[in-house]
Symmetry: C2
Subunit: 464 residues, 2 copies
Amino acid sequence: MSLKRSTVQQLLASQELDREVLVKGWVRTRRGNKYVQFIALNDGSVLHNIQVVAAAENFPEENLKDVATGACLAVRGTLVASQGKGQSVEIQASEITVLGKADPETYPLQKKGHSLEFLREIAHLRPRTNTFGAVLRVRHALAFAVHKYYNDNGFFYVHTPIITGSDAEGAGQMFRVTTLPADNPPRTETGEVDYAQDFFGKATNLTVSGQLEGELAALALGKIYTFGPTFRAENSNTARHLAEFWMIEPEVAFNELEENMDLAEDFLKYLVRYALDNCADDLAFLNEHYDKELLARLRFVVDNDFQRLTYTEAVDVLKGARQKFEFPVDWGTDLQSEHERYLVEKHFKKPVILTNYPKEIKAFYMKLDDDGRTVRAMDVLFPGIGEIIGGSQREEDLEKLLARMAEMHVPAEELSWFLDTRRFGSAPHAGFGLGFERLVLFVTGMANIRDVIPFPRFPKNAEF
Amino acid sequence: MSLKRSTVQQLLASQELDREVLVKGWVRTRRGNKYVQFIALNDGSVLHNIQVVAAAENFPEENLKDVATGACLAVRGTLVASQGKGQSVEIQASEITVLGKADPETYPLQKKGHSLEFLREIAHLRPRTNTFGAVLRVRHALAFAVHKYYNDNGFFYVHTPIITGSDAEGAGQMFRVTTLPADNPPRTETGEVDYAQDFFGKATNLTVSGQLEGELAALALGKIYTFGPTFRAENSNTARHLAEFWMIEPEVAFNELEENMDLAEDFLKYLVRYALDNCADDLAFLNEHYDKELLARLRFVVDNDFQRLTYTEAVDVLKGARQKFEFPVDWGTDLQSEHERYLVEKHFKKPVILTNYPKEIKAFYMKLDDDGRTVRAMDVLFPGIGEIIGGSQREEDLEKLLARMAEMHVPAEELSWFLDTRRFGSAPHAGFGLGFERLVLFVTGMANIRDVIPFPRFPKNAEF
């Protein structure tokens, strides 16, 4: 008779005992004595293992010799109430088949704890650990929550291009995408590299943001969001930066700065609440092993209004602070991480939304305030993370936008398609970008961004 | 008093009449006489426009001079039952504000119909048309359905890398990703381009598939899927190929070929059913204007079992066909589009799943059948589309896999990380790839793949 496989999650949640079950998974640990062996089996469906009990009378040691940490098993047996601590059910094994061995001499993930640094070197195997299983399940839940939030609120998901001929922010170092031979590219008559012969007939790069294309879509479909990979060719070897990361960028026609803040706050609270509601086991594990204040911090974000104030007000707060800063604060300079952390962690003790920054330190597309000095930017600052969201109301007036582009040396001809949104049926609109890995970092309590994406890309590293 | 904006979708679905409403959107058409003007307003939330009625006594012509096709308006008025045909409600306007003009002399989207070819040239504006609004809303619904299907079925979404040092299929032309200066790259002592000085310390490319990394994740988390951009640097100027497209790749530990087919069929039916249930207006529009058999074809896919047969059986069917083929059919050769279409559209008249192809025409990672001649591959063939899914059970045996790699000249050293899945706790597993744009093509009934992605990338084209 063919018995359907159950997942560990289904078995641990089952009320239906004393029935025959089939489970498949990987051995986490094995212990026991001469009468009985206990095998902790995990199949990735959930943090917890199921305990498989193998009585020595049915399973002589020679039959279990390949049942070592990392081996893959198929186990048939009876699901029974557990006598042991730490689990409500266990399996009394009747049949154990080794599907794939794992030689204890060479398998890198023995049961002792491993440093996160070591696990980064074997990123292809680390999803088999409790920590990365938990992080990846939380990451999944957050990604799904992003889509669910926007779908439920009438936004349309738009796939903006990855390969692009334009640089949205007028800044940001980019990766070049090419099929020209590196060794000896074709040349023009004047000796320059002839990009007309490249795949796309011109020089192309990997996108740094889908915002400009997102604006086009928002001024047609009303409410849109993007969720895709973005790239920075910056030589940043920090715990906060990746060369390849995923970004979420909503853009809403007719929204102004206030509604943009409302959206950002509601969205972030929804995501954190979704994780609390759907990832209780994984978050409890991370709270216990990595960050004892994690759950308290997540609940705090959900339960409290974010503090909203202007850049100008923030500068006043910082100037009045008793704390000494490494970088002096003066109106017109960009805030440093130490300033943001002071505002969030010490002064307001809650997430902060800063608005209306000096135009000189923000991008060309942000809407100019009436005073002509500041723009309708907004940054959302989170404890431990700093800036988690950056956004703005956009300049919808063609003449003002052209003037800002000229001041900031952004080439208007290249962005003529973008400017068409302001030429034809322009409208107020606003949006923001949320770095997905920064969100996962915040929700999991991990310290290094390389530990919240399956295969991190950073300078000198594109393994796997 | 501040009145909250309603979307056109909300208003058209509203039962609550004779109340003041505020709506914002873009003018699609304007017509009328000296007593009254009718403005069709669309905000992208839904296919249909809402009719705004502006009585001449309240709105003299000079106040409406900028109310032209493409202009953006804010309209206040009373929502009332409509006397006209084609809509149940309309707005008796009390206030009309032009937020953004659209000069009729220069705005490219006047109300007359435009060819799809012309619209491709103004891809930044085409989301403002009925056709592309419909396509993009269906595309959104299908993307959400993908995530919902997998989330509801216990799969985890895994972000596999976009920038990669490996080529999953051992084939496929790739785009190079680099920060080396194109004009004068650094050289080694022997004069070759020195990739050790490139950003990642070696030559890197854009991914052609997330499968290999997906396998790593499946052999830890059990059931996973990817949904991300993939790239082909192939000089294919066809209606079926893009240089940048989105792919969905589920991978399931412990699944064999039969379960892989079950998953593919259930998944495709779910997606089509989701579109039928959630995109009725948009699909009806596409059915009427582009493909009169669209709805019938979609319902047929949902209602009928897919025909499953082996490659060998298919070759027999084709050899017995009365039809003459341009390419002769012989066991061992790959099937051409004409053969696939014959099987699907003429012989079985339903979607077909072909399995157990000759090993010579399939990838190295597919599980060898016991006869040593065929592999556990599966292709799902759809009417009008041809191959919509390609997949297989994977070779889980390290020795057999190494032998196939050697036969096919796939370098084992470079894929050592991938082979670790077979070294440590290997397990049967299977998966497949669904090209998202081919799915959207099928569900919308559009004829050209460049019309189902917002900003298509193909040879000599990376505009916007």
